[in-house]
Symmetry: C2
Subunit: 191 residues, 2 copies
């Protein structure tokens, strides 16, 4: 019983509902009916606007990846010209709103599990992580990290950030986002 909306708005609503459902009920609960109910529309709309639930999930992945990348870029832009500050801001932003939001972390984890076994989703993941690492290598290079150590260093930073994300999502009582930010900062300081 929802009002008529423009295709763009409706697509946005459905993606937002997918993200919400993924965060609250995990990958197993991301059915067409559940998502449609969360968006307040009928299940048929998913097929109508996306052609299938798989493509809706893929669109949700793209949306979140773009949102995360934009938040990181905003943090870098606001850090001023100093290379170390820009690198620190890029990493610390991963533990600051809106990225540090536990619901977003839960959504990302559910998408990871859905990515396994789906070639298109795996390619999306690969592309997003390659972009993340490339940006990291860029910022690390500006801080004077030797070119031959650039790749491994970027992988290590990415892994640390991902691991802190994961534990923050699965065991939110073990430590705080502030502590995660501090662990990452110490790691960068040690390079």
């Amino acid at each position: 019983m929802s009002k008529r909306a423009s295709p763009d708005d409706r697509r946005r609503d459905l993606i937002a509902a997918t993200v919400r459902v993924l965060a609250e009920r995990g990958a197993a609960g991301a059915s067409v009916r559940t998502i449609a109910a969360a968006a307040g529309v009928s299940p048929g709309l998913v097929t109508h606007h996306f052609g299938g639930v798989d493509r809706l999930v893929a669109a949700s992945y793209d949306h979140i990846a773009a949102q995360v990348a934009a938040a990181l870029e905003t943090a870098v832009a606001g850090a001023g010209p100093a290379p170390r500050a820009r690198l620190g801001a890029y990493v610390a932003a991963n533990f600051t709103a809106p990225i540090a939001d536990p619901a977003l972390l839960a959504t990302w984890l559910a998408l990871w599990s859905l990515a396994r076994g789906d070639a298109a989703m795996l390619a999306r993941h690969e592309q997003h992580y390659a972009a993340f690492r490339a940006r990291l290598e860029d910022l690390l290079g500006a801080c004077g990290v030797a070119a031959e150590r650039l790749r491994l260093t970027a992988i290590g930073v990415t892994a640390l950030v991902d691991g802190l994300w994961l534990e923050l999502c699965l065991s939110p009582d073990s430590f705080s986002a502030d502590e995660a930010r501090r662990i990452a900062a110490d790691y960068l300081a040690g390079l």
Copy 2:
């Protein structure tokens, strides 16, 4: 069409089949019928021996967690008495067979996604990670890490190891297990 077997053997077979299916088809493919087919038995046996697929998955989680903990403990025991060597062995073992096995990493990732939304599975995860961190704090303390920095340091090491695991599983072409071991060793050396 399987021969009669003892309950213990059959339970072991079913757990092994669950781990295999989880690794090959992800969390979405872990249905009773798929698991039973992988074990070469009828679907009804899952209910008969475990009382439901949820408890079979939980038992698989326990089995893997115990297997990983045992492999880590073996590595520590084989490292001699020096505290630094013991710590290094404990961390490096995470990227050595049998833990470094990509299939095991895939299984673990699938179990993580299944753990979300299930209170019993979340409790299992919490318990396993608490044990992992406690052992890590023990080894770090023996190396002279200050008591007040122990908790945060252990969280950071755990996060780095988990992140390297994850990326190794999702993007196996990005870097090798050897490189992961080296990144972790460098991190420990910087403490």
